[in-house]
């Protein structure tokens, strides 16, 4: 038990400091390059159509997008479905006003060491991950929003 907690702590530290130059595929073949978003705050939200809490997170992600996009917030919903039709069906029920990216092979998810579904990572304007949360708890929305606001208000170190 202690051994795995220690291991998790190390992995967490790595995830927090790793520079997110991971790549993932869009159906059209475009690759997601996070360095394109330097200067903006990126929320990377890993979701899947079969994940029940993801249905609750989408309205909130839309609200965050509406509220902070003009401040430099970019939300990217990274879909991890094995079948793209499932993702399409989900998006019909829960439309997203933010960008959707596809990572069926799980490459980006592995880079970020996703531990549970859904997982959200807040990446600051300098490309460093500053916060993340596992799962989506409706009662913690205020905390999640506070993390985004803190990242938006941070000056870039460059």
């Amino acid at each position: 038990m202690k051994k795995s907690l220690f291991l998790e702590a190390i992995l967490m530290a790595c995830a927090l400091t790793i520079s997110p130059i991971a790549l993932s595929d869009l159906p059209s073949g475009e690759r997601l390059d996070l360095s394109d978003y330097r200067g903006k705050v990126v929320v990377l939200d890993f979701w899947a159509s079969w994940c029940v809490p993801c249905r609750r997170s989408f309205p909130w992600l839309n609200a965050m997008n509406d509220k902070y996009a003009h401040d430099g917030l970019v939300i990217i919903g990274v879909n991890l479905d094995q079948e793209p039709e499932s993702a399409a069906e989900f998006l019909q029920e829960y439309p997203a006003r933010f960008q959707i990216s596809y990572d069926a092979s799980g490459t980006l998810a592995r880079e970020f060491n996703v531990q549970a579904m859904p997982s959200s990572f807040v990446i600051g304007r300098d490309g460093e991950t500053v916060a993340h949360h596992l799962g989506f708890k409706v009662r913690r929305q205020a905390d999640y929003e506070a993390a985004i606001v803190a990242a938006l208000q941070q000056e870039t170190s460059e």
Binding site: W50, G106, A116
Partner: protein
């Protein structure tokens, strides 16, 4: 009786030690399906448990927790 308890302890320990086994959190699409839950229909399970408890000398056994989508 002691043998049963010992066997149970070993089995539990072996399974608990399977910490290297498993899948990534995003690979749980199949396990999230209704039909892949350990109990798919609680009334049917309760009905069977009751019928067999009434007509036989054994009962129960089912457990709690695990499998599924592993969300939140």
């Amino acid at each position: 009786m002691k043998r049963t308890a010992g066997l149970a302890a070993v089995t539990t320990l072996l399974c608990a030690g399977c910490s290297a086994m498993g899948i990534e959190p995003w690979e749980r699409d199949i396990l999230a399906k209704d039909e892949m839950q350990l109990t798919t229909d609680e009334i049917e399970a309760a009905t069977d448990d009751h019928i067999y408890f009434s007509k036989e000398a054994s009962s129960g056994g089912r457990g709690f927790g695990g499998g599924g989508c592993g969300c939140n």
